[in-house]
Each structure stands twice: as C-alpha cells, then as structure tokens.
Symmetry: C2
DNA sequence: TTCCTTTGCGCAAACGATTGCACAGCGTCA
DNA sequence: TGACGCTGTGCAATCGTTTGCGCAAAGGAA
C-alpha cells in the first residue's frame, strides 16, 4: 500500500488567524517573560493546541543569537568508556534543553570537514572528546570562533574550557590502596605517552609511591587504551620481571587485557598472585568475570559541569575560560589482594 | 585573561558585494547544477574563500523542503551492541551528507517530549532504535508525520520502514553448528519475551532443530539483554538440568553472563563441558577471555541500508515502505566444541 | 477634565538564505 | 535584417520566526 505522508506545517500566521490576533502576539505567548495579556495568551494557546502548533526551531534560531544545538565531537568508539561518557553527556544536555548534534571524525576521512558541517548549523558550543581526536580536528574546533569545552585533554591555548578527571588524584588513590595492602613491586600501564591523561595518571601514581618511599618497578605506554594493548603489555612486562605483584592501568579496557593475559596465558591467579587496578569504572568492571577494582571517572559530574559551562558561555559578555578537575573515586572490588 | 569570541558572520550579501554580483549569483554558485557562468563562479568562489564564507544551513533549510538533519532516537545504552550500531550509523550518515541529531529517551522522564523537540528542528527522518524504547515513544515517532526507519522491531502499521537482522536465519545458523558438532541437549536464552527479535531468534533456532529431528531442552526469557540476566539464567537453567551441553543466547552480553556463571560459579569448562553461542558480535566477543562464537549482526550493512532508505524518502512522490531483513553471519571462535 | 504612565498589541523590518520570473545579450538561421 | 532560442543575471518574494517602535486604550493622579 503506497501512502504519502503529507504534513501541512502550521505557522504563527495560522495560529494568529484562528486566535484573531497578530503574529507578534503568538510569538510573545511562546516567549517566556514577554508582555501578553491573560486573555490573548489563553486564546493563542487554545488555538495553538487545536492546530498542533509548535514553533519552528530553525526559523527561531535565525533571528536569535543561539540555536540550542550543541555539537559533540568524537573520534572512534575504541574504548568502552566513550559511549558511557557520551550517554551521560547527551542525557544532561537534554535536561538542559539542548539538542546534541553528533560529529564523528573518521580517522580515514577528512578530520575537519564534518566539524565545518556542524558549524554550518550555527551550533552554540562544541563539546570535544579531545582524547580520541586527531590534532587537526582539535585545532579546527579551537579556531572555529565558537565556545569550546574540551574533555580529557589539556591544550596549549587559554581560550577554551578544559574539564578532566583529577588524574593525579587517581594515580595516588591507586598507589595508596596497593601499598596499604602490602604490595611490593608495582607497575604502570599507560595508554598513549603523548596524551595528558596517561601521563598524569602515571605521575600521580609514581609521586604517591615516592611519598611512601617506594619505587616503580616498571612502566609501559602502549599507544592506546585498548584491550589488545593491555594484553600484550602484561605479557611483555611479566616476561621481564616476574615478581611484579601490582599493576595500575590507565583504563579499564587495558586492565581487562592485562587480567586475561595474566590468567589465561600465564596461569596466575588474580588477586592472589597479582593485583590489578583499572581506571574509568565502565559497567563491565562490575561483571563477576572481572570484578575490577578501579578508579571511577564520575561521568555524571563531568556532564553536569559541562552543562554549567554551556550556560555560562550562553550569556553574552566578557568571558573567562576555566580548567576544571573533577575528583575521582576509588571503587573496591576483587582484583586487589587486601590486607 | 578574559577573552571574548567575536565572530562576524559573513553572509551571501557580503560575498556578493565583494564579488560584484547579486546575492542570487552567490547562492547559485553554491547550488550544484544551477546556471552560473564560469567567470562569475570563479569570482564568487574567490570572494567566498577570502571571507571564509559558508552557507548558513539553518537559513537554507528554511526555504527548502529538507534540513539534512536525521534524528536518531534511542533509549538507554544498556547493551554494548547499541553504541556499536550507533557508531556505524552516524558514520554512514556523515558519509551521506546528513547530520545526526541525537534523541535519548530517558526511562525516568517524558517519553515523547524529547522527540517533539527534535521535530521542532524539522528533521528529515527519524531513525528509531526501537528495541530499547518505550511503546509511547515509538508511537509518537510513527504519528509524527515524518518518515520513520525502525531498527530491530517490527510494528503494527505499514507506513514505516522496518529493518532488522534475519533472526530466523541467525537461529538456524546457531542450531546448525551445534548439531553438526554433535551437541545433544540444547537451550535457548532469550531477552524480553515480548520483543520480536528475541522471539524470532528462538523460533529460528527451534525450527532448525526440528528439521534436524532434535528437540529443545530448555528455553528462558530473561526480560533484558544484560549480562546479569544471562548470569542468572545460566545458573537456574543448569540447576534444573545438568546435561545441557549447548546454549544459544539472543545477545552477546547474555552470552558473557552465561559463560562467567558457568565457569566461575559452576566450575565448568567452555567449550569442553558446555558450548555457548552469542548474537551481535560486539568487539568484546573477540577478546581472548571470551572468544565467543557468535552470530554477527552486520551493522555496516544495516547502516548502509538505512542511508539508502533515507535517500528514498527524500525525493517527493508516492512512497512505499519496506520491511528488510539483513542476513546474519556465523563467526566461529572458541566457545563451541567442534567435531 | 487634563495629563501622564502603564500595558498590550500590531506593523514592519530583520535573520540568511533560495528561486520563479522577467529580461538583456548574443549567436544562429532563414 | 528580423525572428528565435539560449544563457546568465538580477529583482523581489518567500520560508517562519522575533523584536524595536509607535500608538491606542485604560487607569490614576492632580
């Protein structure tokens, strides 16, 4: 059965005619705070309801200085943390009355074109999951002239907001629990050496160990946060040095890789022979198969803060970017031998 | 240092002035197929480049009958398959010149309001991840008057496109490999009984078994596709009947739950004592810790087809919705005992 | 009654594009 | 030379809103 959808779009004009008022009056009833008498407001509202009228957001955006569209710029979903963060973000945006428009940068494709295409829609803000993005894409965002909120990567300029987890704190939390539970020989598995998050987590870890008078036995950066990378890192580290009894990983997926390598390939018991700590607290960490003790990145707090900053940038005036660190939280499960 | 971003928006008018032509000429140079002489085109392009002009997509959408915005309507990310599918979808949309606008329906919040908010932007199409959505949300989409492409759930009306994996085929593929490799007592772990996908996968499985003269030992619907559900289902099934030697699960996450329950809690070996087959082929399936043999839902094929349908609906005329099944593919790993 | 202040409403001009229509220029053909 | 067709171009209307401004009506104060 062929069937054609045929929606006649109802406009301010239609509502105005039915309510017997001017288009301005209609517009004003839908603008909070605008002066309308109770009488007209009521007639307008009932006319609008009868016709099923809703203001055209495109037309509205044309006259106003904002669109309520927020672009989310991301790279590949190569880490389970990303969809997790992403989900929290979109939910908060909705709550704040914003519409998220998604820009996925394809590593194989043009790193800037999709960003320009989003800017064509006059998005209010660019929220940039900077960690997973090529430098060119990040640069394009910064130069766009639109407020930028950067997630998880610090950046050389001082004109954009940066929000990231308190990575030093995270490293310290991992060090503390490992030392307090009597571990002797510790290692760190980072992601990409060039990336701030991996670097800071390692620094925080080492610094805290130092303060407790312990040295770091081994450190490895594997270039990505992937499971595979963790798997391989664990094998090569333990081949080099068998007495390592605690490993802090810069992401949960690295940690999963480490755990599987150590259990399946080397036949060690976790946490009896070796303790593993991850970072992120993705849902999978709580699966009994892993039961990963980890440092949680508080995605909801981060998303909340992003929303605050969006509101901040949305009012005109002299503006001041911030760099905000969100405290992390130790989540204790079963991958660390206690006491 | 306070710093204000101050972007003067450049418009057709500015470009026209600089190039010494009318606004129409500028517009036409940016409209493929419109009549412009080589000379003016060149002058316009160079003026545009000098000013950094790009057409305002909002203004353009106002006059045209389409916006190039595609809404993606989703529920919770409660299944790792969803971000996976979602990622493929957005990439294909970008390739097709569409911008994805994300609508996440919060189970705790209003099931329709976010959808209306997206419609306010006059999105061209609603792509609906129907499986994870409340019925009211789905209904609102269907009644919106905008073309709808429904993913993974069939629906009572015949005015929307439906695209789903060939679930019967998937069930048959699972049955075939299990029987051919000599399994005797088989069980099926479904998600939500009311949901088409779970139902069909089970039917396909049972039907294929029937054809091979084998009966189904047990069947369970756990109400969701989650890891937890799989974990519990496995325990209760095996408590009831210890000789089950093959389980087909309606999703990979169910399968992970089953595997962990069976290995960690019951101490069985996979695939030696019990074979497990999943469905989806999420990236995690290939992790050595699981090595799950599974039925792949071809997300790229699905996304490709969605894009085709979007293009189909975008040209005006008498339209015919379709129901399309995408063939699935058996991915052999190590969770099924062969031969 | 007169004057002044509110309050609410409508007119018309934006916002930044696209596009139907008319027309100028120019070459071609009879 | 005149008629005809083709190309390109510009004018002006249009898309669906918002909003500054002027003004009428109403109400209060003197």
């Amino acid at each position: 059965m062929a069937r054609v959808k045929n929606v006649i779009r109802v406009t301010v004009g239609d509502v105005a005619k039915l309510a017997g008022v001017s288009r301005s009056a209609v517009s004003r009833t839908f603008t909070p705070g605008a002066p309308v008498s109770a009488g007209t407001r009521e007639r307008v509202l009932s006319a609008a309801k009868e016709l099923g009228y809703r203001p055209n957001a495109l037309a509205r955006s044309l006259t106003q200085s904002h669109t309520n569209i927020v672009a989310i710029v991301m790279g590949e979903f190569d880490n389970p943390f990303q969809p997790w963060m992403f989900d929290a973000l979109t939910r908060h945006l909705h709550r704040g009355g914003k519409m998220p428009m998604l820009v996925t940068v394809d590593l194989a494709g043009d790193p800037v074109e999709p960003i320009y295409r989003a800017l064509d829609f006059r998005v209010d803000v660019l929220v940039v999951a900077a960690g997973s993005l090529p430098d060119e894409s990040v640069a394009a965002c910064i130069e766009s002239g639109v407020p930028v909120i950067m997630l998880g990567r610090s950046v050389e300029t001082d004109i954009v907001d940066v929000v990231l987890s308190d990575n030093h704190m995270a490293g310290a939390q991992a060090a503390t629990i490992l030392i307090n539970s009597g571990h002797k020989s510790l290692a760190y598995v980072g992601g990409s050496e060039g990336r701030l998050a991996s670097k800071e987590r390692g620094e925080g870890f080492v610094l805290a160990l130092d303060n407790m008078g312990v040295g770091l036995t081994q450190k490895v950066f594997c270039g990505s946060y992937s499971y595979q990378a963790g798997y391989e890192a664990a094998l090569s580290m333990l081949a080099l040095d068998k007495k390592i009894d605690g490993i802090f990983c810069a992401s949960d997926s690295l940690a999963f890789g480490v755990m599987d390598a150590v259990r399946d390939h080397l036949g060690l018991k976790i946490p009896h022979d070796l303790s593993v700590i991850g970072m992120d607290d993705v849902p999978m960490s709580s699966w009994p198969g892993y039961g990963l003790t980890t440092i949680r990145q508080p995605v909801n707090k981060i998303a909340e803060f992003v929303l605050e900053r969006i509101d901040y940038w949305s009012v005109p005036g002299e503006k001041q970017p911030v760099l905000q660190r969100i405290p992390t939280e130790l989540i204790v499960r079963n991958s660390v031998r206690l006491g």
